[in-house]
């Protein structure tokens, strides 16, 4: 097994923005997910590994083979790195057939072997029936499969995938991921997979690197990374409508949970500005149970809860597995297209802890919701995401 080792620094200096990529990591055989917002430096990192971009300093190697080393001035040309790269827009050659695209990267070999390898890879990605078709005439999912086949047929030592499945529907995506897994069971090379989809992180991830503003801010298994306290900016990217200041009140390592007191933090969240700034600190905090993170009692964190993850009941619910049942009163209801956004005040003082909850139109009507109505909010422990303050 040849692991990929990369330590890369690259600055993009301009008058308005000063961005620096500064990461170091090892990737063993299998999937390593690069997760982060656009502009976090994911694609730049892939470009550096492939040789399409040049780091300012650093070292990139696969096993014993050095691809780039600024200290000894080594930079292997792109064509000789044996690093497969599937771009987000795939870049199939439009003037060639599917088969010609796949043949393109093969070194001179006897004709029969060419044919055999091409048809084998096309079969393993289920596009062998398209071999003679023009690359422009096939569907999105087929193009994705052909792009993967074209890269994999060259037997790369590292595979870089830049959101190759971003444009596909979920079932197509799942099938392609399965075929890719099957392929890698036989080959076992490091695969760097860029995505900003949480579903893909959990579906693929053996290991996740979370990038933010050019740095690795968290790494580990999907579960560790996605539940670890982390940077505010990443949480906002992932779309939390509700973000609160939290104080750790008690930790229960044996249960994997902890208890936090939450109050409004008065920051801008999404399109809705919390109007609680003036009431900040007023009233007692609302207690909620959250997953356990590495934090001591009394430490200050932030907690994010998606508006779509909260259930709303009009009578005190019983016999639930969800650990958080918080009473409150509806302050406003607002229809946005086919979603109703309800704001519910849960604190003693109006505005101290206000949650946004998303409901369907039918739910609003059948529950006869209206401002002023008493409700109970139901929040699963693992719907509470903790972030570093």
């Amino acid at each position: 097994m040849n692991d990929l080792h990369a330590a890369v620094r690259k600055r993009f200096g301009s008058a308005e923005s000063d961005f620096a990529l500064d990461v170091a990591f090892d990737a063993a055989a299998g999937f390593t997910i690069l997760f982060g917002a656009s502009g976090a430096g994911k694609t730049t990192l892939l470009d550096c590994v492939s040789g399409l971009a040049q780091p300012d300093t650093g070292r990139i190697s696969v096993g014993e083979r050095v691809l780039f080393d600024s200290s000894s001035r080594v930079s292997v040309p792109v064509a000789q790195r044996r690093v497969g790269y599937v771009f987000q827009d795939l870049a199939l050659f439009p003037h060639m057939s599917v088969e010609q695209n796949v043949l393109y990267g093969l070194k001179p070999l006897p004709d029969a072997e060419h044919k055999q390898r091409t048809s084998a890879i096309l079969r393993s990605f289920r596009v062998d029936h398209l071999a003679q078709r023009n690359a422009r005439e096939i569907s999105g999912g087929e193009r994705q499969r052909v792009a993967l086949a074209r890269t994999l047929v060259t037997d790369p030592e590292v595979l870089l995938l830049d959101e190759p499945l971003a444009a596909l529907d979920a079932p197509t995506k799942a099938k392609i991921i399965n075929d890719l897994r099957a392929w890698n069971e036989a080959h076992g090379i490091p695969i760097l997979y860029v995505t900003h989809s949480r579903e893909e992180v959990f579906a693929l991830g053996e290991r996740v690197l979370m990038l933010d503003a050019g740095r690795v801010v968290a790494q580990g298994t999907p579960h560790q990374v996605m539940t670890a306290p982390r940077q505010q900016t990443v949480a906002q990217l992932a779309g939390f409508e509700n973000i609160f200041d939290a104080t750790v009140e008690a930790v229960h390592p044996e249960r994997g949970t902890m208890l936090c007191g939450i109050v409004a933090c008065g920051i801008m969240v999404g399109s809705v500005a919390s109007d609680a700034t003036s009431a900040h600190g007023a009233g007692a905090p609302v207690l909620i149970e959250t997953p356990l993170v590495r934090a001591a009692v009394g430490s200050k964190l932030r907690v994010g809860i998606r508006a779509g993850d909260i259930l709303l009941a009009i009578s005190p619910p019983q016999g639930l597995s969800a650990r958080n049942v918080i009473p409150g009163r509806i302050t406003s209801l607002e229809q946005r297209d086919v979603i109703v956004s309800a704001r519910v005040n849960c604190g003693e003082v109006i505005g101290s802890v206000e949650m946004e909850v998303h409901l369907t139109l039918a739910a609003r009507d059948s529950l006869q919701l209206a401002p002023g109505k008493q409700v109970w909010l139901v929040i699963k422990t693992h719907s509470c995401y903790l972030m570093q303050n």
Binding site: L52, Q80, V83, A91, F93, H95, G105, Q132, N134, T151
Partner: protein, 230 residues
């Protein structure tokens, strides 16, 4: 009153020679202009474009001086062949190449630049050398631009007058092209002959251009192979 077919043959020979040489010479220049990141590249671009704005007589004059027996190039040629380059067909070809250079290089470079950079990057990550990338990806996707550049340099050489007059003079069978023949006839008040010659040139050029653009339309619809199965 008769048409001097020899001048037509000579003009065609000149135009074909020049456009073929420009196709070979223009490709590397255009490739460099399209892909180089040298900061002073614009200076080279300006030099390549010069023949578009310079009067042909100015260009012809300097070519004549450069080819003459007093210049190093001229002396080298004389030592090699025993006669000067000026007032020969070879001299005419050199002058015409310089004169038509931008008409070949600019469409070439424009079509190279318009090839999606991602395709070029993909080719490199698939292990292809720059040569292979050029011949398998860049050139095939630039075919319309290559045809346009070659046709333009051909047409431009067909109709050229000033440079030919300065460099080639007016030697029948060697440097007397159609445009000079027409000029001569007008000078000699042979309007009927000038008219006939001009008309033949006009028709000839139209037929050639129509042919090439007709073929170009087919070349634009490149398909690797007819679709056989679904």
């Amino acid at each position: 009153m008769s048409i001097d077919w020899q001048t037509f043959a000579l003009t065609l020979e000149l135009a074909v020679t020049v456009s073929l040489i420009l196709l070979l010479l223009g490709l590397p220049i255009a490739y460099w202009l399209a892909f180089s990141r040298w900061r002073w590249k614009f200076l080279v671009e300006a030099v390549v474009a010069l023949p578009i704005v310079l009067p042909p007589t100015v260009l012809g004059f300097y070519v004549l001086v450069a080819l003459g027996s007093r210049s190093p190039l001229g002396r080298w040629w004389i030592s090699l062949t025993g006669h000067t380059l000026a007032f020969t067909f070879a001299g005419l070809v050199i002058g015409s190449i310089l004169y038509s250079l931008p008409f070949a290089v600019q469409p070439f470079a424009a079509s190279f630049s318009s090839v999606d950079r991602k395709l070029i990057a993909a080719s490199a990550t698939l292990g292809a050398s720059p040569w292979r990338t050029f011949f398998r990806v860049i050139a095939p996707l630039s075919v319309p631009g290559l045809i346009t550049g070659t046709v333009l340099s051909f047409a431009h050489t067909m109709g050229e007058f000033g440079v030919v007059l300065m460099v080639g003079g007016n030697i029948p069978g060697v440097t007397r092209t159609v445009s000079i023949d027409i000029y001569d006839r007008v000078q000699a008040s042979d309007y009927a002959g000038a008219n006939q010659t001009a008309l033949v040139l006009l028709v000839l050029c139209f037929v050639l251009l129509a042919l090439v653009y007709g073929l170009n339309r087919k070349a634009l619809a490149i398909h690797p192979r007819p679709t056989s199965q679904r």
